[in-house]
Symmetry: C2
């Protein structure tokens, strides 16, 4: 007996506006590890204007999600995250938002719920699509389509990456990151984390995603956020605050295969950047 409401699929729902200013963008940048040496992303007075990491889309979209019926969140996993950015984020704006359940796929052991949350500037220009892949355990087997093949592929074996950078997360990374909006106690409360089956609080998957985006911006776009187009990633393992994240990128055609690892692979993704 599934609790999924398939009638929600394809229906765009307007959500409340998301207003932010440069402090929100700077707090996000610090939350994904930006340092005092990355002034364009943390200093509103920087010559040329402050920039915003494209993965800020996940913050703008995070409070605009909708679900296909009443969800048992203990079986509802955020498996994939994808963003498409149509123009760089200004360092402050009011974003009009709408969200839809784009598809519900049947993966056998579970349902894959694809939710798309889009943001528009007040002049109507599209800013981003944030596409969430939620895996709902135990809700498959309803006779639906399995959905398209993922664009995410494993890195080429035995080939050195075209870029490799290691970022240190701090013991406080999740404490800081959650001030951006995702205040799930799993990321700060040791007791809550234990009850959830974790040895200790874990880093937000979207924080790791932000670190990876930051790496793509610097290593594949030379710091120019206007060259950043898309980034799709799958979460494969947990990260604990304080662990180092090594982010490797392999250029394959117009995309980068992006892998994030601690002492294990924690994320695998595919980034599209606008470089000839």
């Amino acid at each position: 007996m599934t609790s999924l409401d398939f009638s929600t699929v394809g229906k765009k729902q307007k959500r409340e506006d998301f207003k932010y200013n440069w402090k929100d963008a700077a707090l996000y940048a610090v939350g994904i590890g930006a340092s005092a040496k990355e002034l364009p992303f943390v200093y509103e007075g920087i010559s040329g204007g402050m920039k915003v990491f494209p993965s800020f889309a996940t913050i703008a979209a995070g409070s605009a999600l909708v679900y296909p019926g009443n969800i048992d969140f203990s079986r509802f996993l955020h498996g994939e995250m994808s963003i498409k950015v149509y123009q760089p984020f200004p360092n402050g704006a009011t974003i009009r938002r709408e969200t839809e359940i784009s598809n519900i796929y049947d993966k056998g052991k579970g349902a894959l719920i694809v939710t798309t949350s889009s943001g528009y500037l007040e002049n109507g220009n599209k800013l981003y699509d944030a596409i969430y892949g939620f895996f709902y355990l135990g809700e498959g087997g309803f006779g639906g389509e399995p959905g398209p093949k993922s664009i995410i592929v494993a890195p080429p074996e035995g080939t050195a990456p075209d870029f490799s950078v290691t970022y240190q997360t701090t013991e406080n990374q999740a404490v800081l990151y959650r001030l951006n909006g995702d205040t799930n106690p799993l990321h700060i409360d040791p007791e809550f984390a234990r009850k959830g089956g974790q040895a200790k609080p874990i880093l937000h998957g979207l924080c790791t995603y932000g670190f990876a985006t930051r790496a793509v911006v610097y290593e594949a776009c030379n710091g120019d956020v206007s060259l950043f187009k898309e980034f799709t990633a799958r979460f494969t393992n947990v990260v604990y605050p304080g662990e180092n994240l090594t982010i490797d990128g392999w250029k394959t055609g117009d995309r980068y295969i992006v892998q994030v690892r601690t002492d294990r692979v924690v994320m695998l993704g595919s980034a599209l950047v606008n470089i000839a």
Copy 2:
């Protein structure tokens, strides 16, 4: 020819309300070095209720300051900071604020301007006094009173402190701290800092003051903010983000002499706590 307006002295001025929530208090806590291990100050869901460091008074008061006339801020130094806390800060409130220039003293080489900004809860209960000592270079010699002797005294020579704790500031400390409201470029912009005569951006004096307050809360109040009453401190040298702060306290009567040092003494203060 002084630009000081002595007629401002003693006139209470109502200032706009200061609204804050637990995220503001947590951001402040992280800004003064609180870690994921200090859950009562960073986690809104903590059993017993979230606490707020008493030096949050400097954030609440910081946007409520008034000045005695048009000030040349290049000669206007924040020399001393004092807070009196009448009850612990809730983890969210709307604070009614009023500020006055309490006194203008004649210190010869400059004027000492004492400004008192007070905060009240909506039920009328007083929350704090934040008392600023500004030294206005070149504005002394007007025939005024020199003012009372400071309660700040040097630590006893050759006597081990009753407590000593070392906190590490991070390279990002000022980048983070400024998100609480004091966005002076001196604390983030290398070029601006150089023009201001500093080798590089310096940490906010009130950030150091916050670290010292945090030390007093843990070391002299056993983490119980309700025992914290007053803290008066004088800034004696600059701190750079990333430096370690060693905070020593000597109990003398009902007060602690509090000294903060890097490889030099950067702050000297006197704290009153409610311990028998």
